[in-house]
């Protein structure tokens, strides 16, 4: 690499000195620069001359150590040392955070961005419930079928049990058509899935003390179906994951299977169940007792671990139990949700 010097015998009075990279080689050339109107006249040690318009210069780096790039010439870098005042005065404002952010005070940017984020989150949470109602039910059914299908071999289908389950659902006379199935998994839980599907896992059935409890649970899940809570939950978690940037698949699955609905959505589903039970003349006390039992078992015995899965998706509160109890009327009004043979058949639906 040739050693260069800034010696120039040209008589150019206000010569500025600096160095130049031409973007072609890594050679660092000492140059002298003269300002000629709107142009810079750059002369290197070997006498080669180049002229650049001010408009083509791009100031880079911080103002304390400014380097010029050149439009259309990648890697071209010119540094003037010292930077003459007449050029410094023409420099655009120093870039800090980049782009539009530099036009406003940082505190204002922070406040506006924070507010926008909060508004965005609230709009998403509220808007999801609204948007869920706009999703055609046929799409939701298709989604539900795609996700759950016919449950393969894990759905329990003993004919007598199936008939008993159908009678139980018919008795509730729900205003929303739902498809209830029992799945042979030792989970004490029930979930509403997209497309008006309700899945009750086997342990919930085998641990139930009466068909009235199952009626209450189905009524509650049917409430979620009627209120489009499943779709709302899906849209919320999907929107959140898009907003936060990054698909947290785990969270999405969790939100689907263990759908965490808002307190208000839970209360509304309870309300739906209470009305369905009342219309069907099934006692709500059994459902209240069922909640009670789950709550009391929180002590740490084996039952608690099974109950935990139900708690995770259905946060209990004394208020909710009380609401069921308060809706109970005189005992003579109620008959069991299923007669004894049907109840036996239903419990044997998984063939166990």
């Amino acid at each position: 690499m040739p050693s260069t010097s800034a010696q120039s015998d040209r008589p150019e009075p206000p010569a500025l000195t600096g160095w130049l990279y031409d973007g072609v080689t890594s050679d660092r050339r000492a140059v002298t620069v003269a300002i000629d109107g709107d142009m810079l006249r750059i002369v290197d040690g070997e006498g080669a001359v180049d002229t650049v318009g001010f408009g083509d210069l791009v100031p880079l780096g911080d103002h304390a150590r400014i380097v010029f790039g050149r439009v259309g010439r990648e890697g071209w870098r010119l540094r003037l040392d010292p930077l003459p005042a007449e050029i410094a005065a023409r420099l655009p404002r120093q870039e800090r955070h980049g782009g539009i952010l530099d036009r406003f005070p940082i505190v204002l940017v922070l406040i506006v961005a924070a507010l926008a984020s909060v508004v965005g989150l609230v709009a998403l949470m509220q808007g999801a419930a609204f948007a869920a109602r706009l999703v055609p039910m046929s799409w939701e059914v298709a989604l539900g079928d795609a996700l759950v299908g016919d449950l393969g071999g894990s759905a329990c289908n003993a004919p007598a049990g199936r008939a008993a389950l159908d009678r139980l659902v018919a008795r509730l006379a729900l205003d929303t058509p739902v498809k209830v199935r029992i799945v042979d998994l030792d989970i004490e839980n029930a979930v509403a899935m997209p497309g008006r599907q309700i899945i009750v896992f086997r342990d919930l059935l085998t641990n139930a003390r009466s068909p009235d409890e199952i009626a209450g649970v189905i009524g509650h899940e049917a409430g979620h179906v009627a209120n489009r809570d499943v779709m709302t939950g899906l849209l919320r978690s999907f929107g959140l994951s898009v907003l936060i940037g990054g698909v947290d698949g785990g969270a999405m699955t969790a939100s689907l299977l263990a759908s965490r609905y808002s307190r208000a959505a839970e209360a509304a589903a309870d309300d739906y169940a209470i009305h369905a039970l009342d219309a069907a003349r099934v006692t709500p006390a059994a459902t209240a007792a069922f909640f009670d039992r789950l709550a009391k078992s929180e002590g740490g015995d084996a039952f608690a671990t099974r109950a935990a899965s139900y708690f995770a998706s259905h946060p209990l509160s004394a208020d909710r139990r009380r609401a069921f109890l308060a809706s109970a009327r005189e005992a003579g009004r109620y008959t069991p949700a299923l007669d004894a043979p049907d109840w036996r058949d239903l419990r044997a639906i998984c063939g166990k």
Partner: protein, 352 residues
Amino acid sequence: MDEDAGAGGAFDAFTFTATWRDYLPIALSNLALTIVTLGIYRFWAKARERRYLWSHTRFVDDTLEWTGTGKEMFLGFLVAMVILIPVLLFIQFGAQAMAMRGMLGLAFTLLLASYAILLYLYGVARFRGLRYRLSRSWWHGVRGGSDESGLRYGVSHFWKTLVGSVVVALLVPWSMTRLWNERWSGMSFGDRTFECNVTTSGLMGRWIMVMLCPIAGALIAVILAAAMYNGDPGRTFVVTAITFFTIYGLMALAGIGYYAAFLQAAIGDLRLGRVCFHFDADSMDWLKLFLGNIALVIGTLGIGIAFVGYRNWSFFIHHLGASGEIDELHQSTTHVPRDAEGLLDAFDFGAV
């Protein structure tokens, strides 16, 4: 350029001239903006951080320059998400839906295929992340890059990682060194290609130490249990806890020891033209870096996380050296990638 700098063999090639006070406003405003934008600003924050760090990193006689932008990193991330989302959705929903329909075999096969695709893409992402960083790093008006797409590297990464870690864990040093060589041999700066032929010599001993940790931990557990066990559940818990922390503590320490040796060997074998690189951080240095980072984040109640990138870069440059002679470089003719580090970022491995 001053040729003396490179003539005498080893020289203090890399210096880091930043100060934490200087960087503080950038760190704090980056953190604040990232929080209030729910993380979306992080791409611009990273660009700004690198612009600062690069411009305060000196190689021989001039600083580096970072020309990557937040916008291109954001767009790269979006594109990567479009590629990854179908795979992630299948892993989260598709496989489950198929399993529920009883197509267990097919679901399992496709699930394995999905993980294979992810492993392949991760290799491609590592290659492209490095290619992107070099293509946006300038020195003396010259940049780096690669003419390869990384698709072939992905294949190599796929099978070498599987053979190295899954089949025979003892081959991990072999797969790591081979992949390092392949990655860097595909990279160039200016018109020079990096060369690297690091071998596992000197690494096997350290890796075997890592592999022996669980055995050592189990031995300690047996000795502890023999000395302390008296049937008391509290005592049992203490023994279990000590064993647990011993095994993981030992593995972490041995892992740091191995990684320090690996990077010393790997960077120590890297050459660009007649320039050889060195890296002298030993296990203690790494341990101090990690503990320092942890203490910084905890001690500042999390705010210090804004300084972790700065500390890591400072550590890296402080321990990085070079020797040999610097030839004149010609401008890189490699393709300028537009995908930024999208894929790598999507895998959440976006280091500095």
